[in-house]
């Protein structure tokens, strides 16, 4: 427990009678890259604003280094926020923007200059220190916003959709850049994002929020391979869902197909359930695994790295997605309407209540 830096204890936030955050508990470790993942309205931004100090929890506590900071105003918290809009000061230069937070700390002028110059080098914008924000590109503004929050060496750096405004290529670069900087500075990063891929790539641990509640928290591998709810399974990556009914302890589809998989607690005889399997876990041929299904090719999509087949099958209302690696596909051409059987192991099967 000693390495817990930030402890969120049963935090609730009500607006009138509406619960934006409905009782979330999370422990975030020192030097961790943590992601709060959720769709809009999931409460992730409200939670972030409570961590920054712009909102006070209706109940519960936020502990930083064991001290309750729930009621500490934002200017007295060793926590800084990189805003989604960047919120750079338009009437100040890049260097003045970065220096602002240090001036608030009444740091000596010479030391401010050293720290700002250092920071400008980290974000590789030393040559633009005299520019105003309006004269910068989107990517450059993003770096300035990061530098301005980071230069104060906060205990926790909060980032609200940090890459949301960037184009796809730049986003990929910045994901790695953020990880590098986090590592270099050794500061705890908490990123709020709606982009599950971003969360998986950057974070050490991910918390999935839905409707103001914490659904699951774990490493990217854990939440991808072992989703604890149908929502989490659906939200992270791509998942095939096959409706079944529990009959005699077995999972039986409407067409009589029987699937093997570990039954979660709470599912009883006669209950409706879904069998979930990732497209990349499906292999060609029934022999290769405990479970199998047969369908007709509805569409194919070639991605270079892999070949994706959409199978129409009586086991699923929508098409079942199969992802074959280039090796497994072996250059074979699949025609529409062709019958294909795929199999997978019970180990790769998740079962959720319907």
């Amino acid at each position: 427990m000693s390495d817990v830096l930030l402890s969120i204890r049963n935090v609730q936030k009500f607006y009138g009678r509406l619960a934006a955050v409905g009782g979330v508990s999370l422990d975030i470790r020192d030097n961790e890259f943590f992601a709060l993942l959720g769709a809009s309205g999931s409460g992730k931004t409200t939670l972030l604003r409570m961590l920054a100090g712009f909102e006070t929890p209706t109940s519960g506590a936020i502990l930083l280094d064991g001290q309750d900071v729930s009621a500490v105003p934002p200017n007295h918290r060793p926590v800084n926020l990189m805003f989604q809009s960047y919120a750079l000061f338009p009437h100040m230069t890049v260097a003045q923007n970065i220096a602002y937070g240090l001036e608030m700390d009444r740091m000596p002028r010479s030391e401010i200059r050293t720290r700002v110059d250092e920071m400008l080098e980290v974000i590789q914008l030393s040559h633009l220190s005299g520019r105003k924000p309006e004269q910068l590109s989107g990517g450059q503004r993003q770096r300035v916003a990061l530098a301005r929050a980071l230069v104060k060496r906060p205990r926790v750096l909060l980032l609200d959709e940090p890459l949301g405004a960037l184009d796809k290529k730049l986003r990929g670069e910045m994901q790695l850049e953020l990880k590098r900087i986090q590592d270099e500075f050794g500061i705890t990063f908490i990123v709020v994002t709606h982009d599950q891929e971003e969360a998986l790539v950057m974070a050490d641990r991910v918390a999935i929020l839905k409707d103001g509640l914490l659904l699951q928290c774990g490493t990217p591998h854990e939440i991808y391979e072992h989703p604890e709810s149908r929502f989490a399974a659906d939200f992270i990556g791509v998942m095939n869902f096959l409706p079944v009914r529990v009959q005699g302890g077995r999972l039986v589809a409407e067409n009589g197909n029987v699937f093997k998989g570990a039954l979660p607690n709470g599912l009883g005889e006669g209950d409706e359930a879904v069998v979930a399997v990732r497209p990349e876990r499906l292999r060609l041929g029934a022999s290769d695994g405990d479970n199998s299904l047969t369908g007709r090719v509805a569409a194919t999509a070639y991605h270079g790295l892999d070949l994706q087949l959409h199978l129409d099958t009586p086991n699923s209302p929508g098409p079942v997605l199969v992802r074959l690696t280039a090796d497994a596909a072996e250059g074979r051409v699949y025609r529409e309407g062709e019958e294909v059987t795929v199999g997978w192991s019970a180990r790769d099967t998740r079962v959720f209540p319907a």
Partner: protein, 284 residues
């Protein structure tokens, strides 16, 4: 061809302004280079004497006093107006149009009526005196009406809506995250206002101030009614030259200097706000 279209559309306005604004101004300007005839009227001999007279210490002091009063009115209106605009911009967005409507409401009644209302308030037997008496004060009350202060109060009251509107525009456009960023970086509420909000909305204050100043320095109704002829502002002086002293050339010369001052200020203000708002437009 396409870039000629705006010219066609502008031509009625241009024709109107030329006929009723530019030409009369040029006529007045021309008048300023003649002198008054012995029996009134205009003596059409070219001279700089009339314009030189404007810079005579007697008249220069009236200019200065007018500028001080207009400046004071502009300053007070800017402070009150900015505070009001700030409050309106902080209200829930759905209430803001209604509050702005109320702020501008006095504009819809006649300027003279509004100024007369102040006479009723400031009178020796007026409302303010009555309130002071009602509160049990029976000492000597300072004279309120027919003072410079009364003129300033009247000007501030009449032109306040301009300042509110001019300040509201930049305040309502502010991204609230910018002020939050300052708080997040360690700035107190006051520091955030002083170093972030105020500088970002200063062009609005400048616009409001210049509006009030320009409208006040040439004003002759308010000094006449609330100043009670105790002192003169430039507007009253011009009025007198044309209507009582019958010295049109001197009236014209005074007008020209006044117009020159206003033009200078308005040009400066346009230039300053243009730069600031241009910067903002590119930033978003």
């Amino acid at each position: 061809m396409a870039d000629r279209k705006p010219l066609y559309l502008m031509s009625p306005a241009l024709a109107w302004l030329t006929a009723f604004m530019v030409v009369p101004c040029l006529l007045v300007l021309a008048l300023a280079f003649f002198r008054r005839g012995i029996y009134g009227g205009i003596e059409y001999t070219f001279t700089f004497e009339t314009i030189a007279l404007v810079f005579d210490p007697l008249y220069a002091s009236i200019f200065l006093k007018s500028a001080v009063i207009a400046g004071l009115a502009g300053l007070i209106a800017s402070v009150i107006g900015y505070a009001a605009a700030y409050a309106i911009a902080s209200m829930p967005a759905r209430h803001q149009p209604m509050l702005l409507f109320f702020a501008v409401l006095p504009f819809w009644s006649n300027y003279l009526v509004r100024t007369y209302a102040w006479i009723v308030l400031l009178n020796r037997e007026g409302l303010i005196t009555a309130i002071a008496r009602g509160l049990g004060y029976d000492g000597e009350l300072p004279r309120l009406l027919y003072t410079e202060s009364a003129v300033v109060v009247g000007l501030v009251y009449n032109y306040l809506p301009f300042v509110i509107l001019a300040c509201y525009a930049p305040l309502s456009r502010l991204n609230p995250e910018i002020a939050e960023a300052s708080r997040d970086l360690g700035g107190s509420a006051w520091t955030t206002f002083r170093r972030i909000t105020l500088p970002m909305t200063a062009p609005g204050i400048a616009t409001g101030f210049v509006f009030v100043f320009v409208l006040s320095i040439g004003n002759f109704v308010t000094p006449a009614l609330l100043g009670g002829g105790q002192f003169q502002m430039i507007g009253n002086l011009v009025y007198a030259q044309f209507l009582t002293a019958n010295d049109w050339p001197f009236g014209a010369a005074l007008s020209m200097v006044l117009i020159a001052i206003m033009m200078g200020l308005l040009t400066l203000q346009t230039f300053v706000t243009e730069r600031a708002s241009g910067a903002r437009a590119r930033e978003t």
